[in-house]
Amino acid sequence: MIALQDVSITVGAFTLRHIALEIPTGCYCALMGRSGAGKTTLLEAICGLNSVTAGRILLMGQDVTDVPPAQRGIGFVPQDGALFPTMSVRENLSFPLRMRKWPTAQIAQRVDELAALLGIAHLLNRHTQGLSGGETKRVSLGRALAARPRLLCLDEPLSALDDTSRANLCDLLCIVKAQTGVTAIHITHSADEMQQVADMCLLLEAGGIKPLSSNTALTTQSGLDTLEQHVKA
């Protein structure tokens, strides 16, 4: 379980105050909110990239508030994929395992496993430059999953993709969720995306964060459209 207890974050002039949430283990959570609401800031704080000015972050019962990002066991997929440009796809996928000093044979096995899961086996020896948007997101997702993280943080993983790539990647996220059972936080502006992959939805607003999973408005198409218009406004 990931839990945020009365967390406040300040980055430059931007502040998020009194954020509290709980996501059960194995739950895939969509985090929605208007642009500038602080979704990415919150996700980065969970990953340890932004420091928390007050409150606690608990991951599987362990207080990770002051734990460095490297030791949190969180996989992070940023919006642009952020693949390492001097490495091949294989090297990108094996990078977190090499940093954790896994044996070579196990690294090769894990990379092949991920490549098969994400449908990128044919890309393994390719350089990251020249990959399409969808391929970049798949490799970035594979790299984040490589070391079997306790939590997967995805920052708008389906943004800037064409409709086909978006649909394929959305299906892939459902497969990853089913096969790995990883706990995930997925930032999105799309109500359709949220409905397709998420088990629960949280809405980040000026007043704080509130759950939407039991909201009856989300069970109808008009309710979803209203939510989407709200977060895109």
Binding site: C47, P69, A70, G75, F76, A82, R100, Q129, A144
Partner: protein, 280 residues
Amino acid sequence: MTNTTQAEPKRFRLDTTSDRMFMQVLSLVGGLYVLLIVGMLVADIAAVRPTHIIAAFTSPEIRYAVKLSLFSCFMTGCFSLLISVPLAYVISRLQGPWRHVLDILLDIPFVLPPVVIGLSLLLLFNSPWGRAIERIIPVSYAVPGVILAQFPVACAFALRIMRSTFEQMNPRLEQVALTLGCSQQQVFRHVVLPQARRGMLAAFTLAWSRSLGEFGPVMIFAGTIRMHTEVLPTSVFFEINDGHIELAVAIALLMILLSTIAMFIVRLAGMPGVFHKGVV
């Protein structure tokens, strides 16, 4: 040096006569500078005969100067890289007023007259600290003095290149690497440095070529001692003083050739796909 694709320069459409005239006037003004550079090169080439070049390269003094120049410039380039890479990385990730203070301080070698750099080094090595160093390694009026005299300005050039290299890197990559299990040191080694390879090549080459032409600080701090602290600019100075203009020009042509090769390498380092696949 950066991760962005270089855009093709746009072609302007010159539809009207006034547009064309405007561009012609600009070209004429800018062309004067190009003409000056070409004129200087042609004057150098015209002033020298093959016999002068042969005479220059058979002279033991000039051969010594060539060797010392190549050695001292290589060492200066290495030291410049060794200092500029960590310093530029720290400054590029530094925020707050210290960054501005450091900016001003590190620009001083650009604005100081070369002779003043030499004089300042001389005064520094006359201080108790400097004399203590001199007791271990003789620096002033010796080969280490040549390298140290070339170093301040060469390092300032390398620092500029490295800063722009690090500042153009996507900081997101470093953040992601941290979440993937890296320490800050591992991020620098495995993510930052591989991306900075082309910047490092450019920084080394610029530092090398800048130190090749350094004369003022070398003259003041290392002296103009034939076949001891004699580098190529010193040889040019000696030959002019002795009235051997042709020999001076032959050495100058060699320096122009070496600098042109260095500039070619810097250009090559800036081209996509030349030095390292995937890093533009």
